[in-house]
Amino acid sequence: MATSITPDHRDPNAALPPASYTSEILELFLGPLIRLGDGQMLDVGPVCEENIMFFASRLRRHYVCDMFLRLIREQSVARHSRNAWRHLDYPARFFDGIHLWDLCDHLDDKKVSQLVELCLSMLQPGGLLMLTAFEKPSPSARVNSFIIKPDYRMRFRVQPHLNLSWHCRHNRALISILTGFSIVKSLRYRNGIREILLKKPLSIS
């Protein structure tokens, strides 16, 4: 069960943005895709030039579909957002890896379940899913984009135009939604960032 915080009800005493950190999980996630040579990866945003350059210079073809902006757009055109997942209309078993940066933090449990199911479908058997989640909201619950440095050092940049609510989930609640995947590795950093590397079982086609 998630607790929702909207940007309009921000905690003035909220913690400062998390300091930079080195992402061990990202390296574990990307390594196998690089070694594949023609590994195909999907990043669902937020759009960030540095990251596109980072991934695209390491992978032959880098797929980007900014779901943050799509969720914002859906909200602006309809009171109840339509099925934003229609934008992720990629074929089944298409990707070797999917990168979900902080997206689940801005979705309710039902939508996270839908997204996880979709990721399971889009990944090849054995494909990897990297999920990042904040343990507590960044100031004003705003979305940060992450900037990856060549040494896998991660920094943050606030995206004020991405005005999405934030859903607080404890570790157990988060992991319980990730059904269908097997957990490869899960880390929690001191700055409150949680990274989980998941694998689609080979038994699921």
């Binding site: 061990e24 073809r61 980007v64 900014d66 590795k185």
Partner: protein, 174 residues
């Protein structure tokens, strides 16, 4: 722009006095200086192919292919382009659907609505750009290996410490 003419950087008038529609192949003038730019006005709709030897900016609508070789192409904030682009530098600020092949750089601004494929040497994308696409950067042989400078011992280890870890105490396994 309806009833108005636009001038390019060297003062060349490029937009007609009234809306126009074109089908077939439009050839952009090649008799001008290198810095010249042709602007297709926002009330112009072109369907077909364009080949040219100068820079081109589209503020109107275009469906088809554009081949500018060593010259630059821009989709202006009001522009709507669907098709194949081949140019030196490409900048998208309007709506674009299709494939871009750039010999140098592709720029996608925050006003852009981009759907398609980009092949380029480098790319510049502003935060807030609405993108769904595939990015393929030209990679030199030594550039390809740069991403694999620190090979990982196992593809997906169940346990154990991975390379490139942060300093002790920076994280804990959950």
């Amino acid at each position: 722009m309806l009833g108005k003419s636009k001038k390019n950087e060297s003062g060349k008038v490029v937009s007609p006095d009234r809306p126009a529609e074109s089908k077939g192949t439009a050839f952009i003038s090649s008799s001008t200086a290198r810095e010249e730019k042709t602007i297709i006005g926002e009330h112009i709709f072109i369907e077909g192919s364009i080949r040219g030897e100068e820079n081109l900016e589209i503020e109107g609508s275009m469906k088809g292919s554009i081949d500018l070789g060593k010259h630059n192409f821009r989709v202006g904030p009001n522009g709507q382009v669907e098709g194949e682009i081949n140019a030196r530098n490409v900048s998208v600020s309007g709506e674009f659907k299709g494939n871009i092949k750039s010999h140098e750089k592709v720029e996608v601004t925050r006003e852009a609505d981009f759907y398609g494929e980009i092949k380029a040497n480098s790319i510049s994308i502003e935060d807030g750009a609405y993108i769904k696409g595939v990015i393929e950067l030209d990679r030199e042989p030594n550039r390809k290996s740069s991403g694999a400078q620190k090979p990982i011992a196992t593809a997906a280890p169940e346990t154990g410490k991975a390379p490139g870890a942060t300093s002790p105490g920076d994280k804990k396994e959950t």
